[in-house]
Structure formats: C-alpha cells, structure tokens
C-alpha cells in the first residue's frame, strides 16, 4: 500500500459545525459566494468581499451546482428539498375535497418530519464530498493562475480546529494524496482538479434514486405510506457519498491505481485540448473517458453513469408526483454562468445607516422649481417594489450650456455648489401631481434594477418619461438580469412568459435573436470598477447600465452579451450622451 494513512473524511454534524452546504463562509467577512438551487451559483460582489480571486469563488459555486444538478444524489436532494418546501401546499391526486384536504394535512406533517429528520441527514451525507470538489477546484485554480496567493487562500479556509465548518480538513484529506502544487503547469493542475471532480461525482452517483423507486409505498392504500416516510427515505441514503468516496479513494490507493489515473487525466485533458485547438471532429471528451475508467476500476461499487440518470430521475419524479400530486421542476440543466450579486450584508448596513423615510411632496416640488430657476439639470431615480409607491431620489447637476440634458464640464467648477440630494418614499399619484407643472423635467430618469417593470404598470407611467433620457441601472449580474436590461432597451416590454419558462427549464431559446440591433460598450470608472452600457440606436434616449465588479464581472458580461447577440459598439460610431451616462454610472457605483 502506497499510503499508510487511509483516506478518511471528517464526520460533519449539522448542529456542531453549523454546516451549510449552500454557502461558503469565511471568518470576519461577508459570504463570498453561495449556491442556492433557486438562484444558481452566486459570487458576492468581490469589490465588497475583497476576495483575492473572484473567479475561484465562481468555480467553487459552479462545482456545487454541477453536482447538485447532474448526479443521482443531487437529484435526490432536489426531490427532498422540493417535498419539504412544497409539501404543505400539495393536494392529493384523487378523491373528494374532504379526502384531498386530509391528504394535504398528511403531506404537511410528512414534510415537517422530512425537514426535521431527513433533509439535514441528506446534507450531512454529501457535505464533505461537495465541499471537497468545490474547494479543491477553487484552490487548484488559485495555485495555477495566482501562485502568489496560494498559501493565503489555503490558510483562509475555515477549519474544524477553529470550530468552523471543516473546509480545511476536507481539502487536506485529498491534498495529501493528490497535492495541489503552485509550481505545476496550469494544464496539469486543471486536469487533476477535474479528476477530483469526477471522483466526487462518482461518489454522488449512487443508487439512491433506484432505491427510491423501489420503496414500498402505495398511493392507493390507506394509510398512504406503507412504511414511515422518514425511515423510507433515510433507507435510500444507505450508501452515502462520503463513505463511497472513502471506499473509492482507499481502493485506488491500496491497488496503486491513483497515480496511473492521475497520469491518464493529464494525458486525456491534454489530448482533448490539442484536439479542440486543431478543430478536429468531436470525439469522446476527456471527462467521459476518465469517468468510465473510474467506473471500471471500482467494479464492486455501483457507480451510475450520466446516461443512466435521466431515466432514474424520470421514474423517481413519477413516484413523487403520484404521491404528492405535484410536478417536480426539471433541474438537470447547467446554468451557463454564475451570477454576481450585491452583498446582503452591505444592503442591510446601507439601510441601517440611511433608513428610508417619507419624502414630503413639497420637497420634490421645491427641487423642481429650483431646477428651473437655476437652469440646472435634474436626475430622478426610482426604486419600486409595487406600482403604488416609489423610493425617489432627486439629484441635481450642472447642464452643459446649450446642450441639455448633457452635463457640464470643468468650466462649471467655479459655480455655486449644487443643492444636496433629496430622497424618500412617495406615492406614485403624488409624484405625478408634483411633476405635472414641469413637463420638461426631469432631464434623466433612472430606474433601479427592474423597477421600470412596475413603473410601466402605473397608468401613464411609461409615456411620462418618453421625452427624457431613460436609464435602467442594474446591480446584480446574471444572464436573466441582462436579458431584462436588454428588454428595457429594446422594447420596454416584459419578456414573453414562454422565454422565461424555457430559460428556467434550460430549453433552447434563440437568445441571440433578442439582441438584434443592440450594442454595448464599457465605461471605466476605476481600477476595478466598470459599468457595461447596452443601447439600441433606434431608441436613442434609452440605456441600460450594468455594474461590473472586477475582471470576473467584465468577463461574464462579455460572454452574456455574446450569447444574447449584443454587438460590441464600434468606435467609429460614437454614442450619444456618453458623458451623461458616465455621470449616472459614477453615482451608481460610488
């Protein structure tokens, strides 16, 4: 045996470690990133968290997403989560109304029981392997691309020895066998990280769904559950991923198979990269070949293949639907990109520091009057959670002489100071009433995130601002949000439901058609701060601004624009209002 120390993962306890599969926390910092089934992989604004390598956080969260959506144990977790969340809202599939009510009550009780007993166990069973795959991929990325930060990143991992979730321990367990070495070529590091990802996927492709189909439940029987549902579902997890990974690794080590597998991974991924560079016809990918090798090297363990999973998922879903009367959403698709979102902590701090209060109508009226009297420019910013009320911020600026609504330049620095911003909550009828005597104002209207969709539901809302420059400024960066931004720019209508539905279900949508006529360019505001601007020359008063934190933000935005068919603006075709947009963008970011 090459290694005398057996591969043994730490045993996690939900209550002891405060384990949370979905989030990656670090001491004294905000959450760096998280994976939520409903939202996908999320990287929290790296400018806020000061994450050393935001791309590595993205890789970490995307790895969770992959395992959650593409392995049998991940799908089992989805079913269970869905049952717990929706159980109380379900109706039985047949019978009288009274019977259906009774069944709904039964299901609610079952859901509570599953949420208390089974779901925590389900997460405990996979926590170590999920975090191992995600953390190993993250650290490998840092080692290969930012070797100077490698030790700092490893040191920063939470540890059970500090009474934190045992990220450091799970990483070290694999690192002892397959060391991450910052001096190694990037390709080898990547291949090794992929291999670890495949080993973990093999540990999560257990027979849990097969066991679930075979459970002795009878939907027509009374009581509905032939056996205790919690016990039944716990029995589906009799071969938990963490034990499976230990068996896989110990078998590979004991039989001297790990090193040849590592070498094969390096070879296959190199071949795959060469083949792709040479634009050869598609052949089985390196991942497929390696996964198949893992399956054949460990014949004593039931490791399901990718091709087996759809059928298993289908029958497990059917069993579930029979039982609960609820369709389980299909979640096998892989989101193309992670998201970058604002920090919740930051939002809470902002609200605590600047509590929202009412804005008296007279304050807006005075600002409008002052704007006319002093020939100033005025930006009105709106945030709406519902059409009846808006958070309004009125911000003045110097107008460029004879070129309204464009902002003035340095020549205005000697003028008297601008009035301070006024802001607060106002009812939309009050806003209309105060704006009525000033049809030429504001010069610029700015909608926060998707507030425009609610403003457009206010009668007369949309036409009121058609004569001024309209900007939607968006904070969170995801493909869906950029799609809404594009919709604002293109037509100002909501996305057709079928597109939203298809997007969420991962079905093919001709996305590139949506960007027809739209262009984008980047506004640089600082070393790491950029804003992406989307516009269409057919609608010269309408612009979408997207906050882009760090290089990761830029890369994501460029990729999403390419996917949606939004063309990069040609320098030879200047954009109207560049200065104005830079001014709005600057207010937005800082």
């Amino acid at each position: 045996m090459a290694h005398t120390v057996p591969f043994r993962l730490p045993r996690v306890s939900w209550s002891k470690h405060g384990v949370n599969l979905l989030s990656f926390r670090q001491d004294a910092r905000d959450v760096l990133g998280e994976y939520m089934p409903s939202e996908g992989a999320v990287v929290v604004d790296p400018l806020w968290t000061r994450a050393g390598v935001p791309e590595a956080i993205a890789i970490h969260e995307v790895r969770h997403q992959f395992l959650y959506r593409n392995t049998t144990f991940g799908l089992f977790t989805q079913l269970l989560t869905f049952m717990v969340e929706r159980g109380s809202q379900s109706r039985g599939p047949r019978g009288s109304l009274a019977q259906q009510r009774q069944e709904a009550l039964d299901l609610k009780a079952v859901a509570l029981e599953l949420g208390r007993k089974v779901l925590p166990k389900c997460f405990e069973n996979q926590w170590c392997v999920q975090e191992l795959a995600a953390t190993y991929a993250e650290i490998s990325y840092v080692a290969a691309r930012h070797p100077e930060l490698f030790e700092q990143e490893v040191r920063g991992l939470p540890s059970a020895r500090l009474d934190q979730p045992p990220y450091r321990e799970v990483f070290d367990t694999m690192d002892r066998l397959l060391p991450v070495d910052p001096r190694r070529p990037k390709e080898l590091s990547d291949a090794q990280a992929e291999l670890v990802g495949l080993l973990v996927a093999a540990s999560m492709n257990s027979d849990c769904l097969v066991r679930m189909q075979k459970l002795p439940w009878d939907v027509g029987a009374s009581p509905k559950w032939v056996m205790d549902p919690a016990k039944a579902l716990l029995a589906c997890m009799k071969d938990p991923p963490y034990l499976r990974l230990e068996r896989i690794m110990n078998h590979l080590v004991a039989n001297g198979l790990l090193e040849p597998l590592r070498e094969e991974a390096a070879r296959e991924f190199r071949r795959s990269a060469d083949s792709s560079a040479a634009k050869n016809p598609p052949s089985p990918g390196a991942a497929e070949i390696l996964y198949e090798r893992i399956v054949t090297l460990i014949p004593q363990l039931a490791i399901y293949r990718d091709a087996d999973i759809p059928e298993q998922a289908h029958y497990a879903n059917l069993a579930w639907k029979d039982l609960t009367g609820v369709n389980v959403p299909k979640e096998r698709a892989t989101e193309p990109f992670p998201a970058i979102k604002e920090s919740r902590q930051r939002e809470q701090q902002g609200l605590a520091a600047h509590p929202v209060s009412e804005l008296p109508p007279i304050a807006l009226r005075e600002r409008l009057k002052l704007t006319v009297q002093n020939t100033l420019g005025l930006t009105l910013e709106f945030w709406l959670k519902e059409p009846s009320q808006a958070f309004v911020a009125a911000r003045s600026y110097f107008l460029k002489k004879g070129a309204a609504p464009c902002p003035g330049g340095k020549e205005d620095e000697g003028r008297s100071p601008l009035p301070v911003d006024v802001h607060g909550l106002m009812s939309t009828p009050d806003i209309f009433r105060e704006l009525a005597p000033f049809p030429a104002l504001p010069h610029i209207v700015v909608f926060g995130d998707d507030s425009w969709r609610r403003w457009y539901k206010v009668p007369g809302g949309r036409p009121r601002f058609e004569a001024c420059v309209q900007v939607c400024r968006q904070t969170h960066l995801t493909q869906d949000y950029v799609l809404y931004l594009l919709q604002f720019v293109q037509e100002g209508d909501e996305l057709p439901d079928f597109i939203v539905r298809d997007l969420r279900a991962g079905r093919a949508v001709p996305l590139e058609a949506l960007g027809e006529g739209a262009e984008f360019f980047l506004i640089k505001l600082g070393l790491n701060e950029h804003v992406g601007c989307i516009f269409n020359r057919r609608r010269p008063l309408v612009y979408g601004l997207q906050k882009l934190p760090a290089d990761l933000g830029i890369q994501l935005f460029l990729t999403i624009c390419q996917t949606l068919g939004i063309q990069q603006c040609q320098e030879s075709r200047p954009v109207l209002y560049t200065d104005l947009l830079t001014m709005v963008a600057f207010d937005f970011v800082f």
Partner: protein
C-alpha cells in the same frame, strides 16, 4: 513564499496563521502531537501613545523575520503591511486583539511594548496556547529599571538563542525535536519554550535572567475560543 514573522491585523488572522503553520508542520514531520514557540508583540505606534522602545521593536520587525527564520513565529498584533510593504498600525485591530486576549484571561499590558512568549500545542486535533507557563516582558519597564540594557540587544539575544538551537546537534538526541527547513521548530510532547529560554539565558547574562522567568499570564487557551 511562506512568511515567518507575521504582521497581524486581527485576531482571526492570527488564529489562522498559527493553525496553518501547525498543520503544515504536522504534515511535514508526521508528528501527531507537536509544540512550537510563539512570540507575540503588543506594541503601540507613536501616534497612539507608543514610545522609543516600541519604535525600536518595530524597526526590528524585518530582522526578527530574517534571523528567527525556522525557529520562532513572531506576531505583531495590530500591525499590517501596506501595499508598499511598509508596516502600518491599526489601533482598532490592536484593541480587538487585546480584547480577545483579555476575554481569554490573558491580561497585563505595560502600555508601550510587551513581548509574550509561549508554547502552542497541536494535540487531539485541537490547537491550544499555553499561557500558564509563559514569558511576559514589559520591554519599556525593563529598560527603565535597567534590568535590560536595551530592547534591541535583548531581542538580539533571543535571536542568537534561536540560532544556537538550530545549529545544536545535541538537541535532537536529548528531545524529540524537529527543525523544518521550511516551516520551523517543533517538539513532540514537550514544551519547547524551555529550550529557548535556556539558551537565551546563557546569552543575556545573570543580570537579566530574572526577565526570563516563566509565570502564569493566563490559562491554557483553545485557539478556537480566542
């Protein structure tokens, strides 16, 4: 690549560095139980009420880093490196570290420049800091009372002691001791502070020996609880 003298800006970072170093030592030496010496400086800068002794200690940061290599981990609580690599003091961070120590039962700061020297243990999967048998020197007070000539020469003695431990071939036969080329000094199952003080005492001479008496400056603290 692996820094030895650490400028620590918060107690969390201090904990992570101690733990990281011990895990790496454990991995390299394959010792289940090990002990390393840790030096902790509590030094104020001039703007926050510090004095010339503090200045002298901070001036020696790089020297301590270089000369104590592979023997002792020194931590300067509240001090961090700016982008230009110069050391900067953060009073808030310093205070948070002091509060954490105080909460753990480690108190008694002279007010200008103190050194705490103690053993850190890794055993039974936990890390603990032994303040029961520690060295606490109020450098400013010791210089004022002429028990030591200067902070500089006193620390110089410590570095010499560290160097002698490194080059003393007989140590390995007397105790289970490991000096890692990359990481540092560790003993198994025995206090390492004892060896450091023994060497140091011989260097600084009889007049200053009283300064090297270990005493209880606090309890044994589990690193996680600090």
């Amino acid at each position: 690549m692996f820094e030895r003298a650490y400028a620590v800006s918060a107690i969390g970072e201090f904990k992570k560095r101690i733990l990281d170093n011990m895990l790496r030592l454990q991995s390299e030496t394959a010792m289940n139980e090990l002990c390393v010496p840790v030096g902790m400086f509590l030094v104020l800068d001039r703007a926050s009420g510090g004095n010339t002794i503090g200045d002298e200690v901070i001036r020696r940061f790089s020297l301590l880093d270089l000369e104590s290599r592979n023997i002792i981990d020194f931590f300067f609580l509240g001090w961090g490196r700016s982008k230009s690599s110069s050391l900067t003091f953060d009073l808030k961070a310093f205070q948070s570290c002091r509060d954490a120590l105080h909460k753990a039962g480690v108190s008694g700061f002279g007010g200008y420049a103190d050194l705490l020297l103690f053993d850190a243990w890794l055993r039974h999967e936990r890390v603990s800091l032994d303040f029961e048998n520690a060295l606490h020197i109020d450098l400013a007070e010791s210089v004022a009372n002429k028990r030591i000539v200067s902070a500089g020469s006193f620390l110089e003695g410590l570095l010499q002691a560290a160097e002698e431990i490194r080059t003393d071939g007989s140590l390995n036969s007397r105790v289970v001791i490991r000096i890692s080329d990359k990481l540092g000094l560790a003993t198994a199952k025995r206090s390492i502070l004892h060896f450091v003080l023994e060497k140091w005492g011989k260097i600084i001479g009889a007049n200053s020996l009283v300064e090297l008496a270990t005493r209880r400056v606090g309890p044994v603290v589990d690193l996680a609880g600090l």
